[in-house]
Each structure stands twice: as C-alpha cells, then as structure tokens.
Amino acid sequence: MSNRIKEQFKKKSNLLSIYFTAGYPKIDDTVDIICRLEDCGVDMIEIGLPFSDPLADGPVIQNSSEVSLANGMNSELLFKQLQGIRNRVDIPLLIMGYFNPILQFGLEKFCSNCASTGIDGLIIPDLPFEIYKDKYEQIFDIHGIHNTFLITPQTSEKRIFEIDKWTTSFIYMVSTASTTGIQQNFATDTNAYFERINKLNLDSPALIGFGISNRATFKTACNFSQGAIIGSAFIKHLENKGINEIGSFVKNFS
C-alpha cells in the first residue's frame, strides 16, 4: 500500500503542516479550508475532531473546539463532509482527535471510514503508545491507517527509539513541555533538545509542533527537523481574518 505521508517527506523538505478544528469557524468551512490550504502550498493537514475536554490544549484550541461542537460537529458529520475530498486534494490528510469520541464512534468504523475517505493517519494525543501496541494496533493496520506518536523534551531516549521503531508516518516532536498555544520565542534550552533529537538519527522523519507561531520559530524548527506543525496561530488567524485570508497567513512560512 502506498504511504502518502512518507512520500511527501521524500518529495519535500521544510514541510509546513497546518492544524485546524473541523467545523470552525462555521460548520461547513471544513472542506473549504482544506482546499484553500493546499492551494496556498501547505504540505500536510491535520483536521481536528473537537472534544469537550481537550486536556492537552490551551485556550485557542479549547475555544475552537467549543465553537465547533456548538456548531454541531461530530465524527459522522466530519466523514460526510470529507467524502470525495480525494477528488480535490492530494496532500496527506490526518485527523487529530481525543480518543473518547473515536471510541464512541467505534475505532474499527473510524479507521475504515478514514480509509474510504482517503485520510492517511491519525493523531490521538491521549492514546499512549503502550496501550496502542497492546490493544489497538491491529485495527489501524487492517485499514492501512498510520498512527502518529508524540515525543516531548522529557521523553527518554530509550522510549524515543521504541516509538521510532513503531512509527510508519512521522514523529510529532512537541517543542516544549506545555499545552498547545502560541509562543513568540522558544525557551533557551529548546534548541538543545532539538539538537539532541536530531543527533539520534531516527529512521522516521519528525515534525515539530506546539508553540510554532511565526517565521522565526518555523525556521528554527526546520533547522532541526523535516518541518513544523502550526495550530493555534492558524486558528487565531481564522478567528481574526476569516477563511478568505488563509493565503496571507501561509505566505509567512514559505
């Protein structure tokens, strides 16, 4: 089976990956945002499935999740919106969401819907690596869905190598020990962490996320990894400027 995520890493460097919350700002914006992002040259997209209790997220994504839920977003509707997306969009698409809504929909059905709509992978921040391996890996594999794991500045080297071994997409390198949100600058010890991971020569490509908000942080991230993921800053931009101005946001990072 071809792996759209891996292919993209082979083709491109300094990948720009954008996270947004599906159904935000308006319920029907999901597909429009995806298409516009690709047209502006974004390399990969994480489509956020909203949850009432997003533990790892800061205020910006908490708010977009709340609005999206109030707009009526859920798994079923998201897959309906995404139907036919592969006729219009070629870049890798992942869904990022907390585990409980996925479990209630049914993990098996979720993965099978991902496969049939052309979603390449999942990022489930509260599904730890061990439990995934123990209980759920097979379901992902059957449907050819790539799961993505996070590492943080506190993750041990041993664990990073273990995660690397099981990764079929990319490693999501969390920049600092924090919930998602906007940072103007990285903390001083952040570069040391990036460097340390870089030196491990992992088999999997890595993208740096959490706190990437401007050209400077994006460039720094690219110096140490294959690219970066931007979430809160993009959502803030949507909130302030609306979906017509997506191009002006993406331009900052090219």
């Binding site: 949850f51 009432s52 209790d53 997003p54 533990l55 790892a56 800061g58 205020p59 908490q62 709340e66 839920l69 859920n74 798994s75 079923e76 907390y98 585990f99 409980n100 809504p101 996925i102 479990l103 209630q104 929909f105 921040p125 509260d126 599904l127 730890p128 690596f129 439990i131 123990d134 794991f149 996070l150 590492i151 943080t152 506190q154 993750t155 041990s156 664990r159 969390v174 020990a177 924090s178 919930t179």
Partner: protein, 399 residues
C-alpha cells in the same frame, strides 16, 4: 485485604477492562515516576510510621464506629455509622491528602496542585500543604467558587492559591482539566494530588489504599463491638468513589458482605439533571481513565447535576465500574429530595448534621429492608457545616 485480590488493579493498571492511563505523552514521565515509586514508598516502614502518626494525632483517627440506636430501631436492624465526619477538615478527603503529600515529599516535589468541586478536597489539600510548608494551587470551577464561598475562604486562609477554571462548564470536570494542564506545563517540580479514585493509573489504586484505613478500622471496631468483623452490608455515597473505595476495601473479597454504592440522581434519574453515572453512563475515557461516564452518543462529556457539589462528577473510578459490572457492588441512587429528608432524619434521630454527599448513603435506608439481626454500616463521609446555606434554604430557616 490480601495483597492480591480479585479486585486489585493488574500490572497494567486495569480493573478488569477499566482503568489504565490514557494520558498524553506530555504526562508520561510524571505518571510513570509515580507508578514506579508509589508502592515501595508506601510500604517503607518510616512512611507507614509517619502516615499513621499523622492520621492519629493530626487527623484524629481512628474515627468512631457509632451504633445509631434510634436510627436502628426505626429501620429494624443494627445500624452503625463510620464517623468520617469527625476527621480534621470534616470529611474523609484528608486521609488521602495526608498520604499523597508524604508521597510528594518523597519524590522531592515542591509545588502541589489539586482540583476541587465542593471545596472539601481543596481544603484538605491546602491543609496538608500548610502542614508541610509546600506551595499549594487549587483549581476550582468558576461556578463552584461562587456557590462554595466558605471553602474558598478556608483554602485562602490556609495559604492556598485558588485559580478559577473558566473553561467548559466551569465546574469539577473543568477544574480537573485545568489541573492536568497545569501538570503538563510544569512537568518536573509539581505533584498533582487527585481527590478521588479517578484519573490515570496509579491514582485510583493509590487513593483507594490511603482511604482503606476506613475499612481497616471498621473491621477491628466491628469485631470489638459485635464479635464479628464482617457486617451484613456497607453503604457509601459515590462521587468519584474514594470514600466508598475506602469503606469497601478490606471487605471486597468477603462476598457475604453486601456493598451498596449510592449515586446522586439529582432531580430524578431521567430528569436530565442527574449524576447517576452507573445508570446513565457508558464505557469511555474521562480524565485518562477508562470507566463509566456520562456522555453524548458522540463521546462528548455531559455535565452532571446534583444538589451535592461533591457528587456531581460525570464519571466514577474504574474500580467501581468494575465492581458494578461484575455485580460485586450494588449501585443505587438517591435524589436531592431524598438526601435532604435523610439529613433531617439524622439530625432528629441522632443529633448529627451530615454532609449532603453522605446523606445520599443514608437515603438508601427507607428504600430497602433489613432483618433485625443485620449489621449495616453507613459510611458517614463528611459533616454538614459546608452545606449550611443549602440547608437554610431547603428547610426554610431564613428570616
């Protein structure tokens, strides 16, 4: 209880299919550190000495097991009250915070965080921090801050910083989210004292062990007072489930002892304003634990309701999900009104003003019948001081 019981947590942190640690990677080092250390810390001789000395001299344990004569004659059985209401700070919560603060010290942590709903766990945490001279930050929903002003004042007097949780529904579940987010943002110097048998493994097991002093004392007291260490039935209210876990703990393997967990059904189980998780909930993940929780069909967590702020949690501890599913414990519920009637009854018959939470356990009495020889223990988890304004309103004592 034997070291390994049918109802002990397994090596991966599960009770049957419930439990585990569904944590974001950001919390992995913290939770792992705790998981790897809690058991051997708790088993150290010095730790046990320190813990038991504080429970005795500071908390005021053992709490009495009181034979409630007039209540017994009304219900035609032998009713005993386990007087957790007589603990320092007025509830069972302090058993856990004293235990966890000692664990935090052993792990070298300097900054303590906690969540609180009604404020009882917040007060108990602030108390333990004052005792040990540690910084204390308590997250509390904005809505709860407004309705539990005396406990907010208590926490402040004890030196804690109370931070309003303004996300989501602004109550206990959101305060818990904020505490977890704080822990993510402060991964090295901070210890999170969870207030019930909820959250990621090893918290449910650790909190149950600290609260198990309740049933340990009960056993000895029953033996002395009745000649038999086993009661017929134990009744406890259940929010997250810590007082119930403590009251049941040493009897879990004695299947002759009936265990009754009373949830809050608010304005009625199917009124849409209830907190009866075992009836209304389904399997899912809340605060990093797989358990029963109240949720929409899309997996969004529902805000529960009960007149008692300590019982309106949308989940229950994974041990209880397992006890309920396996049939070991019987889950029943009591409404706001039934709990209020039970408050009055205990005042009038025994001269004790119970906490609203504990009144839910008492409210089971009129719904069942016991034989004259049955020994029934009710865990009186807390006293009613904190609920006085609710009682003033409910019973018409305003001017």
């Amino acid at each position: 209880m034997k070291e390994k019981s049918k109802f002990s947590v397994d090596s991966k942190g599960f009770y049957g299919e419930y439990g585990g640690a569904f944590i974001p990677e950001l919390l992995y080092p913290n939770v792992k550190e705790l998981e790897e250390n809690y058991l051997h810390i708790m088993k150290e001789e010095q730790f046990q000495k320190d813990f038991l000395a504080l429970l005795k001299d500071y908390v005021g344990r053992p709490t009495p097991l009181y034979f409630a004569k007039r209540l017994s004659s009304k219900y035609g059985c032998k009713i005993y009250l386990k007087r957790e209401d007589l603990n320092h700070t007025g509830a069972h919560k302090v058993n856990n915070t004293i235990g966890q603060i000692l664990v935090a010290q052993k792990l070298g942590k300097k900054r303590i965080i906690a969540e609180t709903g009604a404020g009882q766990h917040g007060v108990a945490t602030a108390t333990a921090c004052a005792l040990m001279g540690l910084e204390c930050i308590v997250y509390m929903g904005e809505v709860d801050i407004a309705r539990q002003a005396p406990n907010v004042a208590r926490m402040k007097m004890l030196g804690a910083k109370v931070i309003a949780a303004t996300s989501g529904s602004k109550t206990l579940k959101d305060a818990t989210n904020e505490a977890i987010r704080d822990w993510i943002n402060n991964p090295t110097d901070t210890y999170y004292i969870i207030g019930s048998v909820v959250g990621p493994h090893p918290y449910p097991d650790m909190v149950a062990r600290f609260q198990s002093v309740i049933s340990q004392e009960m056993k000895q007291q029953l033996l002395t007072q009745t000649g038999n260490e086993l009661p017929s039935c134990i009744i406890a209210c259940i929010g997250g489930g810590s007082n119930a876990a403590g009251a049941f703990y040493h009897f879990l393997d004695n299947e002759d002892v009936e265990l009754v967990a009373v949830e809050a059904s608010g304005k009625g189980i199917h009124s849409g304003e209830s907190a009866a998780t075992m009836v209304l909930g389904s399997d899912g993940i809340i605060h990093a634990s797989k358990t029963k929780l109240m949720q929409t069909k899309d997996g969004q967590i529902i805000e529960p309701y009960s007149i008692s702020a300590g019982l309106d949690y949308p989940g229950i501890g994974p041990l209880h999900a397992h006890l309920g599913e396996s049939g070991r414990a019987k889950f029943v519920s009591a409404t706001d009104d039934e709990a209020l009637s039970a408050v009055r009854e205990l005042c009038e018959l025994e001269g004790i003003i119970p906490a609203l939470e504990s009144a839910h356990a008492l409210a089971y009495l009129p719904k069942t019948s016991f034989n004259t020889n049955d020994t029934v223990v009710i865990n009186l988890s807390g006293r009613g001081d904190k609920d006085l304004s609710t009682y003033i309103n409910a019973f018409g004592y305003e001017q």
